[in-house]
């Protein structure tokens, strides 16, 4: 039930959907990865430690493995975590685009752009 009459594009719906899709797909990837690992090796213990890395480096490593076609339980779990980490980032990006394009609110476009810039910097920064 919505309070306001549905506008042509509704920020809350976009943001809500972004978060829902992000969290559900992340959990699904992790669950499938763990179940697959258990089915194959008979244990849930993933020998998976990560060197010090930025979120950007983490994402790149997964994308490279995907390109090589090395789909393994560990990669699915890793992708699940990557999707989770990117979810709030995509949410901020979607909010900024909404304030810039739909609402044309310069003040809030600046606020969200600041959050997005700082978040991007912290995600890409070197160890």
């Amino acid at each position: 039930m919505t309070v306001r009459p549905a506008k042509h594009i509704d920020a809350a719906s976009i943001i809500g959907l972004t978060l829902l899709v992000g969290v559900v797909s992340s959990l699904a990837l992790i669950a499938i990865g763990l179940a697959w690992h258990w089915a194959r090796w008979g244990t849930l213990e993933l020998d998976y430690t990560l060197p010090a890395t930025s979120v950007g480096g983490f994402v790149l490593a997964d994308v490279r493995q995907l390109e090589l076609g090395e789909v393994r339980p560990r990669l699915l779990v890793s992708l699940g975590i990557v999707v989770l980490l990117l979810t709030p980032w995509v949410r901020v990006l979607a909010s900024m685009l909404y304030f810039a394009i739909v609402e044309r609110n310069a003040k809030y476009t600046c606020f969200t752009a600041f959050v997005l810039a700082l978040l991007t910097w912290s995600l890409l920064g070197s160890p």
Binding site: G16, L17, L44, V77, I81, L85, V115, L118, S122, G125
Partner: protein
Amino acid sequence: MSVPLLFAVSILAGSVGAMSGMGGGVILVPALTLLGLDIRRAIAISIVSVIATSSGAASAYVRDHITNLKIGMFLEMFTMLGALLGASIAVVSEPRILFLVFGAVLLVSWATLWLQRKEEWHPAAPPDSFSRWLELDGVYRDRRLGCDVRYHAVRAWLGGPLMFGAGLVAGLLGIGAGALKVLIHDLVMGLPPKVSTTTSNLIIGVTALAGTSVYLRAGLVDPGLAAPVILGITVGAFVGTRVLVRLTNRTVRRVFLGVLAVLGVEMLLRGIRGG
């Protein structure tokens, strides 16, 4: 560390966290340290899982149009900076300091929940010019009262910097620090309780991500342990909010708050004994 045990502890942390209103992190971190994990690694895993629980809850609240997006966007500028600083302090801190701070924050948050006022919310004084400039007002549908509630935020000039402190605690201890955020929303900015809890949830996701980036760079996030924790705590939070709330009552809630107090004292004692 046994993964099934880790999974079980996470489900428990998620459901107790959701029922008590304190979030899973405050239970998860002490529990992981009791299982023998280094407190900094426990904090790193917890803050990743906080992204999942807060985003999951926020997705539902946002679509109900209770969350105030502008208040959220404005305040997350502060919490994010705080989380970056807090996490940067944690990665170079002595474990015993983290135990002490964790115990203290747990007891303070617990006390605020214990003493939670049950007064009805009243609209705050007219907004100051800064809060008005920030367009921090809104309206939401209260299903219980069956009417639209109009509200506006006040003292944004004070709420923002205070949220920096809440973000710092979140990044430092790997928790959502929702209790602190709600306190600032309620007492300083005069927001209705529903708006303050749901908006706090939205902010926590970005705050936790900023903190996570620091822990990841320090090499403290172990995906093999984080994966079952993320899964368990989200399942637990879902069960806690959707199912168990119906079975529970005030007495049960107080029992859980008692558990939290014990954990707080236990963390303090471990800090005093040297971690």
